[in-house]
Symmetry: C2
Subunit: 242 residues, 2 copies
């Protein structure tokens, strides 16, 4: 969200913004892309990248442009999905600003670089955001909460987990995605069976990769299926595993 009303071409859409909840996995931690705001309001505060949608631009195009401008990330290969729209009067001190939140997941993404409206861009561990160590501008904390729950649920019934993996990937890497995001450990052998029995989830490449130590792991690519049936459900019994 940048400056209020730059030139008249943008008046038409100048109360419409997009914000991006971009997640990646780094060092076995779920990370969220944040920028340090370069402009008021909330100057200097961390916020999700985002900004005004321009005339003759679709929401998706605006989201990709802001991602490039504020963090220097090319999102055209990310899986970008609408999360929700936030429009409560009062959510932005400047008046009614409507924001459409987008959700995207990617494999370990490049280090972001700051841009015009963002002093700097960085990856922040989601754990630090959830426990209140880090405060976000606007109502971005609320958006984060909904984004997280959405990601966790989509892991169950879509093949979205594979979007976190750099291709080609091993089944252990894919399993790690589930473990990190769900916060629970999964049995490797049962996980393997489920994934391989779900048609179209992953596609074997025939190649292998050597781990630091141990037997080589088979490599896979993303399959063509998006909806998983049956879904890969979390442990239902509320209990946390070790």
């Amino acid at each position: 969200m940048d400056d209020w009303l730059k030139d008249s071409d943008e008046v038409e859409a100048s109360w419409l913004t997009v914000d991006l909840a971009i997640f990646t996995l780094r060092d076995d931690q779920l990370m969220m892309l944040l920028v340090e705001r370069g402009l008021e309001p909330f100057r200097g505060k961390p916020a999700m990248p985002g900004g005004y949608v321009q005339k003759n631009e679709t929401l998706r195009e605006g989201a990709l442009r802001e991602l490039a401008e504020e963090a220097g990330i090319d999102g055209s290969r990310l899986h970008l999905e609408q999360l929700g729209t936030y429009a409560d009067p009062g959510r932005d001190p400047r008046g009614r600003v409507v924001t459409v939140a987008y959700l995207a997941l990617g494999p370990d993404l490049p280090d972001p670089v700051g841009g015009t409206d963002a002093e700097r861009a960085f990856w922040a561990p989601v754990a630090h955001l959830e426990d209140g160590t880090l405060h976000l501008a606007f109502d971005h904390r609320e958006i984060l909460t909904e984004a997280l729950e959405e990601v966790r649920r989509r892991l169950e019934y879509t093949a979205v987990a594979a979007a976190f993996c750099e291709e080609p990937f091993t089944l252990t890497e894919l399993r790690t995605v589930y473990q990190v995001i769900w916060g629970q450990n999964l049995d490797p052998s049962n996980f393997r069976r489920k994934v391989l029995n779900t048609a179209g989830f992953v596609q074997p490449t025939g190649q292998q990769r050597l781990p630091p130590t141990g037997r080589p792991a088979a490599l896979y690519r993303r399959g063509q299926a998006w909806l998983l049936s049956p879904p890969l459900l979390r442990a239902t019994t509320s209990g946390r595993r070790d």
Copy 2:
């Protein structure tokens, strides 16, 4: 707020609209609430109810107001949920109009009445909309398609089906909701077991109701659970109904 346009009170939000995809069940058919537009563009064409969001109004409030104004329906007891936001340039001949689509489901709702901006309001069978018998204004056909898929999927993992039933309801009525919306028949006895074994889905009232003929059916109310675990999945084997 600044003085940068006294009239901005209306300008500010005049390109933000809400549209409502309201579904109900009538005569064992899935019906959608439509209005005949009283104003240009698309005057005289059927469209989902909806309209401009006013200043100091949340999206939800705007949705409820439009529902009351255009169709005379009190939606405060419906389960109203955001579906998505549509903002492509060109989706509205007047320029960039952003619409937030809401999804709501209800038991057999009262006959709608026309209002100020709508000549008349009526229930249309979704089947007629899907097979192209009836054409909708704007991109409402696209919204309908997404709303339908969303409803079908939410039936699986939320207790939303109960929102279609007038309380108290029988398990057969609840099963009918699934059958009509999924277009497939379910085994009554297995359905009953699943529902009753899902904690918090329904709540027995202890009362009974006499069907036209046959044994009295136990009556239930909606339970407190929203997410179903495990979910009630559709038949996975691509099988079509008899």
